[in-house]
């Protein structure tokens, strides 16, 4: 018997996310299932709707599998959001991926109703891109307009004294080049796709590649489809999404991110890695963001402090594994 499954996502067919992560993962599943599974990848929202609909689509069985950004639907994944906060994820994608995996059953599973999560992951993490001005301390961002990635990203911007501005990703380069925004809070990986090296002069991150928050992603399957699969096929999916795989996903996104900053520095941009002291100044400003989040999720009866503590513990325990 053969299982043909549709995997829907929002990036293009030639995006590194598809070619380097989703396609290899699909291939591994197919191989491990002994050819029983066939995963068809539908990029660019070609099965309809906008990126925020991906999670409803997989839950409702419109598609079988999705790769999506948790932050597209604010409010749906409040627990997993802990990994978006500044100075939770610091610089090690693998460690954060492993921590998410380790915390999943006990801490996170509740909010993934209707879907079977294959794996969660993060990318390189938010860094600062500036069109014209250098940033070395939080005060350098005072009054600057910054494009934001997620709602927690907006909090980061506010905490640093800048003004958050939401806009479609494709509008970002133009907005940067004409001064509609002064900068953006996004990872390096997006630089080549948007030609950001042309619109910006400065790329800033903390000491040892420390980032200012992150974005969480999931690859998930419709729960009914999952239940309908025979055990050996389920096992193929589980084996293809094991610890080794999320570590590999960490490596993949590290490479994509490194490639992004290389494009910028090759184009003559200034890549600033803050000193320990300078990074600590940012940390002092951003710690209240974590408190703000703890308060906010308390309204949903979530023990934010426990999540923060556990996430930090596990990320540090998994460091450079």
């Amino acid at each position: 018997q053969e299982f043909k499954l549709k995997l829907h996502h929002f990036l293009g067919p030639k995006s590194p996310a598809q070619t380097q992560m989703l396609e290899p993962w699909a291939k591994t599943v197919e191989e491990k299932s002994g050819g029983k599974v066939k995963i068809e990848i539908y990029p660019s929202m070609s099965l309809g709707g906008g990126p925020p609909e991906l999670i409803s689509q997989v839950r409702d069985g419109v598609v079988d599998l999705v790769w999506t950004v948790n932050g597209y639907t604010p409010g749906l994944f409040p627990r997993t959001e802990v990994f978006e906060l500044p100075f939770i994820h610091t610089n090690d994608i693998k460690a954060t991926n492993l921590a998410m995996r380790a915390m999943f059953d006990e801490y996170l599973a509740d909010e993934y109703k209707g879907v079977k999560v294959m794996f969660l992951h993060v990318h390189g993490g938010q860094a600062i891109h500036m069109a014209k001005s250098e940033v070395r301390k939080p005060e350098d961002l005072a009054g600057k307009k910054m494009r934001i990635p997620t709602r927690t990203g907006a909090w980061v911007i506010e905490a640093l004294g800048a003004a958050p501005a939401a806009m479609p990703v494709p509008d970002t380069p133009q907005a940067l080049s004409k001064g509609v925004v002064d900068g953006a809070l996004i990872p390096w990986e997006i630089i080549p796709a948007l030609n950001l090296q042309e619109q910006t002069d400065y790329q800033i991150e903390g000491v040892d590649m420390t980032r200012f928050g992150n974005t969480t992603f999931q690859v998930s399957m419709n729960a009914d489809v999952w239940e309908s699969l025979p055990d050996d096929v389920k096992k193929a999916f589980e084996d293809a999404s094991n610890e080794e795989w999320v570590k590999k996903v960490g490596e993949i996104w590290r490479n994509i991110d490194d490639n992004g900053i290389k494009v910028a520095t090759d184009a003559g941009n200034k890549h600033i890695q803050l000193t320990q002291e300078e990074t600590d100044a940012f940390r002092a400003k951003l710690e209240p963001v974590v408190d703000r989040w703890v308060k906010e999720v308390a309204a949903k009866n979530i023990d934010g402090e426990a999540l923060v503590a556990k996430a930090r513990e596990l990320i540090s325990a998994n460091a450079s594994k």
């Binding site: 539908y42 660019s44 070609s46 099965l47 309809g48 709707g49 906008g50 925020p52 609909e53 409803s56 689509q57 409702d60 069985g61 419109v62 806009m167 479609p168 494709p170 509008d171 380069p173 133009q174 907005a175 080049s177 004409k178 001064g179 509609v180």
Partner: protein, 441 residues
């Protein structure tokens, strides 16, 4: 035939049949998309997708410029901007032979610069310029033909709703698309004026001389156009200069036209009520087609149609340029049956994947922009070709004494002018691409 291609053909035939029996184009697309999706993947997939599909389509940020540019055009109509434009253009061109018609074209261009729709431009300018053309005893076919063609400038000169829709389908930058259409838009104005000059030289009796304008009137008329120019510079100039993206620009446009209209031109509550209801009709119609196009796209994607069609074209051995020209010719024929918006929505999901796989020796992004402007030109021709030519119908409803066929004859020289322009734009892509390069520079 390949299974997917067969599916695509069946879907297309069903669509044509439904449209042929006067089912609204949006509903025809919805029916085919829905039935096709259910046939391929069962009813649950379709029904569950409906839970959020409407909201997700209608809440797309980039689309929000459509209601706002449409509303701006309707308020501009009531604010009398069209009269100001025509009066100024007439002061400049009036004393030439055919000058009143040339003035109508120039005024259409000016109105097109603040209005995103061809029909609105044709209607508005028709109401203003037609009485004048008749007063100077211009022949019916020339008068109505000029205005039907002039209405095209509503879309050919940015802002342009059709361009927004194209940009959304192929994921192009709207600002680049607006920049790309500007120079070709001015070329259209120049060619239309040349067409009139040539036409009245051959048939002098169609356009009697109207006498010169007094100096005082000339100055007053010229100054009267300053507010329109100011609004255009702030709204569209602001987009090109990168001061804001099209959505805030369109909002500022509505605000400016409303403020000017209320304070200086006596636009009242009843006018706003009219403008809002007209906007409701125009926008609702466009968005419903967009929803239909999305359902159709879902059906086609599930059936693998776009890939199969692209594959067939790419392996056909035809040269890229020939494929492009064949597509444009197909669009001209389709334009005889359909309006421009539906056409872009209907065929771009099929045409664009093919075009994007072809090598024109250009940057892929440039191909996207260039092809969009070429497609814009040909789909607009549909508005003036028989048997269904919406602009011709609209103008004719304003000039009841002119037979429909006379208007089609009157518009024919402009049609030839458009073909000349199309050849120029195909032959010299730089005409289209220079400005967007400057803007994104």
């Amino acid at each position: 035939m390949d299974h997917s291609l067969f599916l695509g053909v069946v879907g297309l035939v069903a669509l044509v049949v439904l449209i042929g029996i006067r089912v609204p184009i949006a509903y025809a697309m919805i029916v085919v998309g829905a039935v096709g999706t259910v046939a391929l993947n069962g009813p649950n997939v379709f029904l569950n997708q409906l839970k959020t599909l409407g909201f997700s389509q209608f809440s797309k940020y980039d689309l929000s410029v459509i209601p706002m540019f449409v509303l701006m055009g309707y308020i501009a109509t009531r604010a009398g901007l069209s009269q100001d434009l025509f009066r100024a253009a007439n002061a400049w061109f009036g004393r030439l032979r055919g000058g009143v018609a040339m003035a109508a074209i120039a005024a259409c261009a000016g109105f097109g610069a603040v209005c995103g729709s061809s029909l609105a431009t044709a209607t508005t300018m028709g109401q203003v310029a037609l009485p004048e053309l008749r007063r100077y005893r211009y022949k019916g076919s020339l008068a109505t033909g000029t205005l039907a063609a002039g209405g095209l400038l509503g879309i050919l000169i940015p802002p342009s709703v059709v361009l927004v829709v194209y940009a959304i389908i192929v994921e192009a930058n709207i600002v680049s698309m607006f920049a790309a259409a500007l120079i070709p838009g001015f070329i259209a104005v120049a060619i239309f004026i040349v067409v009139i000059a040539v036409f009245v030289r051959i048939y002098p009796d169609t356009a009697p001389l109207s006498g010169s304008v007094e100096r005082g009137e000339w100055l007053a008329a010229t100054l009267g156009v300053v507010p329109v120019l100011g609004i255009f510079v702030i709204v569209i100039g602001g987009i090109y200069a990168g001061f804001y993206n099209p959505t805030p620009a369109s909002a500022v446009g509505v605000a400016l036209v409303a403020i000017y209209g209320s304070l200086r031109r006596g636009v009242r509550l009843a006018d706003y009520k009219w403008a809002l209801l007209e906007t409701a009709k125009t926008t609702g119609m466009i968005y419903l087609i967009l929803l239909g196009a999305e359902l159709l796209k879902i059906f086609m994607s599930r059936g693998g149609v776009p890939q199969a069609a692209a594959e067939m074209m790419v392996t056909s051995g035809l040269s890229p340029m020939l494929i492009l020209i064949l597509m444009l010719v197909a669009l001209i024929f389709l334009g005889c049956l359909m309006d421009s918006m539906s056409m872009i929505l209907l065929v771009m999901p099929f045409f664009w994947p093919v075009i994007s796989e072809l090598d024109f020796g250009m940057d892929p992004n440039d191909v996207k922009i260039w092809f969009g402007v070429l497609a814009l030109v040909v789909v607009e021709l549909g508005l003036i070709t028989p048997p269904v030519g919406m602009n011709v119908f609209v103008i004719n409803s304003l000039a009841k004494d002119v037979p429909m066929w006379d208007t089609f004859k009157g518009v024919f020289p402009f049609f030839i002018g458009e073909l000349v322009r199309l050849a120029l734009l195909i032959g010299f892509p730089a005409l289209t691409l220079w400005l967007p390069h400057m803007v994104s520079g």
